[in-house]
Amino acid sequence: MAFVEGDFRAHYISMTKRKRLYGGMLLSFFILLMVSGFMLADDRNAAGFWDGLTQIFDFPAAVWADTAPKLDQLPGHIATYFPALVETINIAAVSTLIGAIFGTLLSLLSTRGLARWPRAIPIFRRSMDMMRAMPEIVIALMLIFILGGGPVPAMIAIAFHTTGALGKLFSEVNENADLKPVEGLSSVGASWFQRMYLGIIPQVLPNYFSYALLRFEINIRASAILGFVGAGGIGYELKNAMSWGKGKFDEAAAIFILLFATIVLFDQLSSMVRNHLSAKGGH
């Protein structure tokens, strides 16, 4: 009796109206935030947005102008910088590998039901959060001060961050793992390490692999950027090539091509492999 048709209708309409009002308020607040943020950033930038927009193609044009007459030298430049590219990829690969190994360990130690020391779970979780929050550049610059330039500071810095990032993703995977094999193994007296290696790892490996691959792709980009601040590899060469200045951008062009090709290649490769893995239903 309480819900006579008129009442019901009025109630529904008022609710829709309120929902629209909230949505509209949220949207306008967001738009306000974007616009004011943009104006602030524009204000604090050296050159304004609208001035810069007209110059956006100046640099690519300059690079092309330097490269076009010496197009025949481009393959030579590419060959010259190829070892630096290999170094960048190596940095990414090793740091992904190390990050995955330590991430696996940390994730197992911080998953409920699997942890070796259940009481220490919060400690491992927090330490993973800390590692994830540490931007690579911080560690890289400090290590450059101690170890000098080269690939190792970048490798350690990326591995450190990767450990935290992969650890978190891995522990989410672990939570969905079936615990029956672990119970079976513990009933025959297997040690913690054996329980994990034989009972859990085979279940989660495809998902781990998929996440590690995605991370590898991200790490290639990170290792190129870290090179630019002095940590070796193709980024370092790019910085040098950029410093030759106008009229000599042809070497920078070669590096741009290499970097672009590498990123596209690994991007496509990793999405292909991941699609293949998920098509198999992650086993």
Partner: protein, 439 residues
């Protein structure tokens, strides 16, 4: 048939084969990883690195992070002596307010470095130093060269050349040259972190500021203390806060700008919304291109056009993420449930309404979750990009690191960056849970 295939011996051979394969993989994979690590060990020249590593730099870094040094400097030309934190003008002790381990008497300056180490700057410009278990060292300038009472072969904590005497002890460092005599005294902590010497609140306790009598007659205690803290000349907290804000701004503008731009493009790149294959193909290649031109390259290109600043960083993030979002959004759109759209269409809704009520509610949680995840990771990227383009906390960090002496400031920035990223991490996690699960 079945019995034929799974005859006992066949099955056995089959299983043996499977086991062999498993064993090979179980052995081979770790071997492969090990082999690769060995290759990298040599490719990265880890052996050479051990020799090149500057452990003294590491010690300086570790010590400087948690301690500060006070310079007692005498300008040997003018004869004036100053005492200053980190040797900076901004940290100079005002006249008549010297730390208790420095005493000026007539022309002499007596410095007590602790542990019975005594240094005296004499009126005539010479230096007198008392080191326990070693004795007294005197040094003075004779023309252009340093004359001391030291024997010809000095212990390794003393470095003596014709123009310079440098002594490093556990209590502090002393350097003596023609131009100036300097003593560095190390103490734990971050001195002047809250207030510099020119602030009336220097040395006041928190309770005095909150509940005590008015320290500066012109200002309320709390307001005055906050203002002096904010404008602290040594640590410039206000500038640091601005820099942090700028970094967040870059990430915010870049991520959400990219999301706004790529959402309509994603509709055009999704199979079930755009039947025209060439458009889809072209857009997908555009997304690949924007993603493939890495953030680094975008940063370089944009820095040339827009100059240093937060806008450049925001645009670099925006362009890279437009590629990523375009791809992810269009994939999400291809996976939407057609039934809801049909349902909306059956009520006679126009295409715009079909999208608004049939599609958007389905994909919003997925999209928002991805965008928030990117926002969080972009706060980290914005630090690096800021270091390259010259904006935000990344710039402050690299500047402090390049001088290679303000390690306590570097530590301060690092702590703030990590706190900021962790805060964003929990904020985005909280929002994602709230939006998706509606908790």
């Amino acid at each position: 048939m079945a019995a034929d295939i799974y005859a006992t011996t066949d099955l056995r051979a089959h299983v043996d084969g499977l086991f062999l394969r498993k064993k090979l993989i179980a052995l081979g994979l770790p071997l492969l990883v090990l082999g690769y690590l060995v290759y990298v060990f040599f490719a990265f020249d880890i052996m050479g690195l051990a020799q090149r590593a500057r452990m003294d730099n590491a010690m300086t870094l570790a010590a400087d992070m948690v301690s500060y040094k006070t310079h007692v400097t005498r300008d040997n030309r003018s004869g004036t002596t100053t005492v200053a934190i980190e040797g900076e003008r901004k940290g100079q002790y005002p006249d008549g307010h010297l730390p208790d381990w420095v005493r000026m008497d007539g022309g002499n300056t007596f410095i007590n470095l602790g542990a019975d180490h005594q240094v005296t700057f004499m009126t005539d410009g010479s230096l007198l130093l008392r080191v326990p278990e070693f004795g007294e060292i005197t040094a003075k300038m004779d023309g252009r060269s340093v004359v001391t009472n030291l024997p010809a072969d000095v212990p390794n904590w003393i470095n003596l050349s014709k123009t310079r005497l440098a002594i490093t002890t556990d209590a502090g460092r002393i350097s003596f040259t023609r131009n100036k005599t300097e003593v560095f005294n190390y103490a734990p902590g971050w001195e002047l972190f809250f207030f510099t010497f020119d602030s009336p609140y220097y040395g006041a306790g928190i309770l005095d500021i909150l509940f005590g009598a008015r320290i500066d007659p012109d200002r309320m205690n709390i307001a005055g203390a906050l203002a002096d803290f904010w404008h602290n000349k040594m640590w410039s907290h206000g500038q640091v806060a601005w820099a942090l804000f700028e970094t967040l701004l870059m990430a915010f503008l870049g991520t959400f700008g990219a999301a706004i731009i790529s959402l309509p493009l994603a509709f055009l790149a999704a199979k079930n919304f755009t039947p025209l294959q060439p458009i889809r193909f072209a857009l997908r290649r555009v997304f690949d291109l924007f993603r493939g031109i890495d953030g680094l390259i975008w940063t370089i290109i944009l820095a040339r056009a827009f100059g240093p600043g937060p806008l450049t960083g925001a645009l670099a993030i925006l362009l890279t993420d437009t590629g990523s979002f375009g791809k992810m959004f269009s994939e999400a759109l291809e996976n939407v449930d057609g039934k809801q759209i049909e349902g909306v269409a059956s009520t006679g809704a126009a295409p715009m309404h079909r999208y608004r009520f049939g599609v958007i509610p389905q994909i919003t949680p997925v999209l928002l979750s991805q965008v928030l995840y990117f926002f969080e990771s972009n706060t980290r990227s914005a630090t690096v990009i800021g270091a390259i383009t010259g904006g935000g906390i990344g710039l402050l960090l690299t500047q402090a690191m390049i001088t290679q002496k303000d390690w306590e400031e570097v530590t301060y920035y690092i702590i703030l960056i990590v706190l900021m990223v962790m805060l964003m991490d929990s904020l985005s996690g909280w929002l994602r849970r709230k939006l998706i699960k509606g908790e």
